[in-house]
């Protein structure tokens, strides 16, 4: 009992309330800096404005010095980091806009609305540039799929992504779904959007032309999402804190659909000079960024801002994150036409201010007169230099310290429990393959993507589930190819390597279709930057991403940093989520991963290297103490991607698949399952069969081609300095991989008598396990947990005779 009493505050000393600035998430040091900028104490409204604009989320105050090191120049780039989205020219007078962004903490607190507004926010970033959104990709990460809270989050977040995207009429065409225990208390919701625009439509988020009108249109302003940027997104948090629910915004996709149409019409008719969406930081952020970019100021009439509820304080109006709102600048003579467009789309619009010359954001109560000056008797309630809020916001140079003891392998994996019957290391390869394909991270994502409209707008060339998304561009021969990839397991061991691998995999997934990556957008999900080890992870990741982009010749066109991804149980594995958009000049050259024709030759490009740490195999089967993460050779990766584009351009390739999660065996099994065609292959094993079959060393591809082209492909590969080996032939209804070479025998002895020197399974068996793995793991589909194991055992029976022979 005495323990309890000592932890309570003494009755003699009632807890003193936190000072206002700290309640708003502003540190004492930052308050001093604000005083320096203003030359006086900020009032409550000004302090609230600084609190959101100097939040990590809006100011990038910890990450800005790192992000400056990234390569951001590329040919045809029309907009880049610092704009709402990267924009790259693609010919025919067209350009593509794309960006990825996180909505992690809101989704943890309120999964449906958090995910829905994540989609809404990134779509606004796209159409604010003048682009029509044509696709969404969602990269989701969760903890243990069997945990009830995870299941609640998965259900709500998937419904939220779908609920918004489906209604607003933008297809969700790809993404990722990953389970890893490190996300147990802090799921990740990263959403990427892609838009298409005519170059003449490009418009920037600025407020030019003193005397111009500042208009606010879209939904009204309410109390939802107050402190979203400062309190929710920029601090670690305890999960399911009900006090934070009002900081989550509420989305209305119908309002967004109208906003898209009205905004694009305004831009198309050149009725607005600049336009900015209201996201994190609300009106404060949109007005100060627009003014700062144009070198102007804004005088705003607080009373003119339409509210959805009475009694809102001035500071609440200024930082509300109510969704589906836009701020635009227009010439006074165009205002009637602007109002007509909004009214036709049923959107409330208000004239809220004027562009000024003085460089300040000035907020008044009491109205602005016809001359553009505050009415007599109007009261100035805030005056802050726009620069102080945005480009000259505080920057923190954080301490970065490598961990004293690197985390030892194995990387956080799916929990291994006896009843899962997961294969032991060294078990029969067919059983391992079946278990991998049925595992939550490698099984079919169909249960998720079938809840998303994937085909609205009639651009989707290939539906989700088979590699990168492909969208045709109407009226041209061109296509866009897009993917998201992030490697958190290797990042947990080595954040520099993990970021390099993520860039390599994402660009490779685009290149294997024949497309040329235009640029990458990145969502960096890391821990508390005030913790030196977490900041070191971020620093290493940015360095790795920059090195990879420079070697691969791909610019970084923008991105988003999400820090403070920690909860009382720990921090997430560092997660560099990489989004890539590529351009295929002629869609008739498109190559996809599934095999296409029986009798084709199967060719492996690249060679496998040791290093199983961070692999799916390691998560399932356990790890040897000697295992390290796979290494990456970026020059060779660049050669590989150039090679495959060249081979596709010469029409040598029938299908191309990347070797990644689950290794070569999983990559080939996918080519088989997706096409319904088996394969009969021989694989030379120099070291361990596990490394050859299930290792995830990067820089490898599985191609298929007409048999007479195999020699040409091998020759071309060697010209690019790459290893190439014809493995066998497509056909039949089984996948058979015979292991040959020295390593096969030696390994067989090591593995004992239960194993085979061939992996041999029926496609039907693989397909069944793969189809149902995810739904069963999530408990949305009945199925005995041991069924996969039973099937695995059954499948492995088929190869027992061979195993016995090997044992002899």
């Amino acid at each position: 009992m005495s323990d309890v009493i000592t932890t309570r505050p003494s009755p003699a000393e009632p807890p003193r309330p936190e000072p206002l600035h700290r309640q708003l998430g502003v540190t004492d040091e930052e308050l001093d800096a604000i005083r320096g900028k203003l030359g006086r104490d900020p009032n409550h409204v000004e302090l609230a404005m600084f609190s959101v604009m100097w939040s990590e989320h809006c100011s990038y105050k910890s990450s800005k010095p790192l992000l400056k090191t990234l390569p951001t120049r590329g040919s045809g780039m029309l907009a880049g980091p610092g704009d709402n989205a990267g924009v790259v020219r693609i010919g025919d007078g067209l350009a593509v806009a794309f960006k990825i962004e996180s909505h992690n903490h809101p989704s943890a607190v309120e999964p449906y609305q958090g995910a829905a507004t994540g989609v809404g926010g990134i779509l606004r970033d796209i159409f604010t540039m003048g682009a029509r959104p044509i696709a969404v990709l969602d990269a989701l990460r969760f903890g243990d799929p069997t945990d009830p809270r995870t299941r609640h989050l998965v259900d709500g977040i998937v419904r939220g992504v779908g609920g918004y995207g489906n209604c607003v009429g933008v297809p969700t065409v790809g993404g990722e779904l990953v389970f890893d225990p490190s996300y147990q208390g802090n799921p990740l919701v990263n959403v990427m959007a892609i838009g298409l625009l005519e170059e003449r439509m490009l418009i920037l988020a600025e407020a030019p032309g003193p005397g111009n009108y500042v208009v606010l249109f879209g939904s009204t302003t309410g109390r939802d999402g107050i402190g979203g940027a400062s309190v929710l997104a920029s601090a670690t948090f305890a999960d399911s804190d009900p006090n934070k629910r009002p900081t989550v915004q509420v989305g209305d996709p119908f309002a967004e659909k109208l906003l898209i149409e009205a905004s694009l019409e305004l831009i198309d008719r050149r009725l607005v000079e600049g336009i900015q969406d209201l996201g994190a930081g609300g009106i404060t952020c949109a007005s100060s960024e627009s003014a700062d970019k144009a070198g102007t100021g804004i005088l705003m009439d607080l009373d003119a801002i339409p509210r959805r509820e009475p009694g809102m304080a001035a500071w609440e109006v200024m930082i509300s994150e109510s969704q589906e709102r836009m701020l635009a600048t227009c010439r006074p003579e165009n205002y009637p036409a602007v109002r007509e467009v909004c009214e036709r789309w049923g959107i409330p619009i208000a004239l809220v201010g004027r562009v000024t010359t003085e460089g300040d954001i000035v907020i008044v109560e009491g109205g602005i007169g016809a001359g553009g000056l505050p009415n007599p008797g109007a009261k100035e309630i805030a005056r802050v230099p726009a620069k102080a809020l945005t480009s000259e916001a505080i920057v923190h140079y954080r301490l970065a310290t490598p961990p004293t003891r690197r985390r030892q392998a194995p990387a956080p994996g799916i929990p291994l429990t006896a009843q899962d019957g997961l294969p032991e290391r060294g078990m029969d390869p067919a059983a391992v393959l079946v278990a991998l394909l049925g595992s939550p991270n490698l099984s079919s994502r169909k249960w998720v993507y079938e809840q998303y409209d994937a085909c609205v707008q009639s651009n989707t060339v290939d539906w989700p589930g088979h590699g990168a998304a492909v969208l045709r561009i109407k009226g041209t021969k061109k296509a866009l190819v897009a993917t998201t990839d992030g490697n958190q397991t290797v990042s947990a061991l080595d954040p520099y390597l993990g970021a390099q691998l993520s860039v390599a995999e994402a660009t490779r997934n685009v290149s294997i279709t024949g497309a040329r990556p235009l640029g990458i957008t990145n969502c960096l999900n890391y821990g508390n930057p005030e913790r030196p080890e977490a900041f070191w992870q971020l620093q290493e990741a940015v360095r790795g991403m920059g090195d990879a982009c420079r070697t691969l010749g791909v610019p970084v066109t923008g991105g988003n940093v999400s820090l403070y991804n920690e909860y009382p149980g720990g921090a997430i594995s560092p997660t560099p989520e990489i989004g890539v958009v590529g351009l295929l000049d002629d869609i008739s050259f498109l190559v996809r991963p599934p095999f296409t024709t029986a009798g084709d030759s199967v060719v492996l490009i690249g060679h496998s290297a040791p290093g199983m740490a961070g692999s799916a195999y390691a998560a399932l089967a356990g790890l040897s103490s000697e295992d390290a993460p796979p290494s990456v050779d970026l020059d060779r990766e660049a050669a590989l991607q150039s090679f495959i584009r060249e081979a596709i351009g010469r029409v040598l390739v029938a299908s191309a698949q990347d070797v990644s999660g689950g290794g070569l065996a999983v990559a080939i099994a996918e080519c088989c399952m997706w096409s319904g065609l088996g394969a009969s292959l021989k694989l030379g094993v120099s070291g361990s069969p596990a490394i050859e079959l299930f290792g995830e060393s990067p820089g490898r591809l599985v191609l298929s081609c007409r048999p007479r082209q195999a020699a040409a492909i091998e020759l071309l590969a060697r010209q690019f300095g790459l290893a190439a080996e014809t493995l066998g032939t497509v056909g039949g209804d089984r996948l058979r991989i015979e292991l040959t070479g020295q390593g096969a025998t030696g390994a067989a002895e090591e593995r004992g008598s239960r194993v085979a020197d061939a992996l041999d399974v029926s496609l039907a068996g693989l397909r069944h396990t793969w189809d149902h793995g995810l739904a069963r793991a999530l408990g949305v589909e009945p199925g005995p947990g041991h069924e996969a194991v039973h099937e695995a055992a059954h499948e492995s029976e088929a190869v027992q005779p061979a195993a016995t022979d090997a044992g002899d």
């Binding site: 209604c167 009429g169 209305d252 996709p253 789309w345 409209d453 609205v456 651009n459 045709r472």
Partner: protein, 252 residues
């Protein structure tokens, strides 16, 4: 010849209908929800989407819009109207086709390829169909076709069931839990028409499978059927149809 595609606030598959009509070689025009004037079009498509946000219930607000007055009059005069997905929901709410669309049995939005088979090839909406299963996508959360038993019997007797979801072997997926029946529709009904046969609705999206680059142009069988019917009606001088007038009147 002009074919109109209605745009409600919240329509999103209007772009797909416009695209498919262009592929079919006709000039599509957009009909804005606030005007009952159909601008002399020869046929109307009510497209997919979430008209007026589909608040309350799918299609329930849209039926009261000015354009729907024009569509009702057009239908009563014998014009051809095709409702796809949300357009089907609007037609059902407006009473222009029988039945109702309930939430999918899974209680989840579903987007995937399905196979449907036309029940008859002599209707204005299936005349260009081959009669083999048509592979087109669904994308909806409320597509479970429902009517009472007597109505279902009547629809079948009168040939008003136009499409059913079918399994791999081409037989109707009558069991609502059959995976080939994607939403649990009664008697596997994917599409119906009114008693006069000039107003039809279906849940799957023929207009989204309009070009081989998108996977197939299977859906063009239905779009071409509508276009042919409209041309024929136009060539005949827009004949009035007492049956159509009665069908629309009876539902009011």
């Amino acid at each position: 010849m002009k074919v109109g595609v209605v745009t409600f606030p919240g329509s999103n598959s209007d772009v797909d209908a416009l695209n498919a009509l262009s592929v079919a070689g006709v000039d599509p025009i957009t009909l804005w929800h606030e005007s009952p004037d159909l601008q002399g079009v020869s046929a109307v498509i009510l497209p997919g989407g979430f008209a007026y946000g589909d608040y309350l219930r799918a299609g329930v607000i849209a039926r009261f819009s000015p354009v729907m007055r024009g569509v009702s009059e057009f239908a009563a005069a014998g014009g051809h109207v095709l409702g796809i997905c949300n357009g089907f929901q609007v037609l059902a709410e407006a009473g222009l086709v029988p039945g109702a669309l309930l939430r999918n049995r899974s209680l989840r939005f579903a987007c995937r390829m399905v196979a449907i088979k036309p029940e008859r090839l002599d209707s204005p909406f299936t005349r260009a169909a081959t009669g083999r299963p048509i592979h087109i996508p669904i994308a909806h959360g409320e597509g479970c076709y429902y009517a009472d038993e007597a109505t279902l019997d009547e629809l079948e007797r009168d040939g008003q069931v136009l499409f059913r979801y079918v399994r791999g072997d081409g037989t109707p997926a009558l069991d609502p839990d059959d995976p080939a029946n994607p939403n649990g529709s009664l008697r596997a009904i994917a599409g119906v028409c009114n008693a006069a046969g000039n107003v039809a609705g279906l849940m799957p999206h023929p207009e989204r499978m309009s070009e081989s680059i998108l996977g197939s142009d299977d859906g063009m069988q239905l779009i071409r059927s509508l276009v042919e019917s409209a041309m024929e009606w136009e060539a005949a001088g827009r004949p009035a149809s007492a049956k159509a007038a009665a069908a629309v009147e009876a539902r009011r």
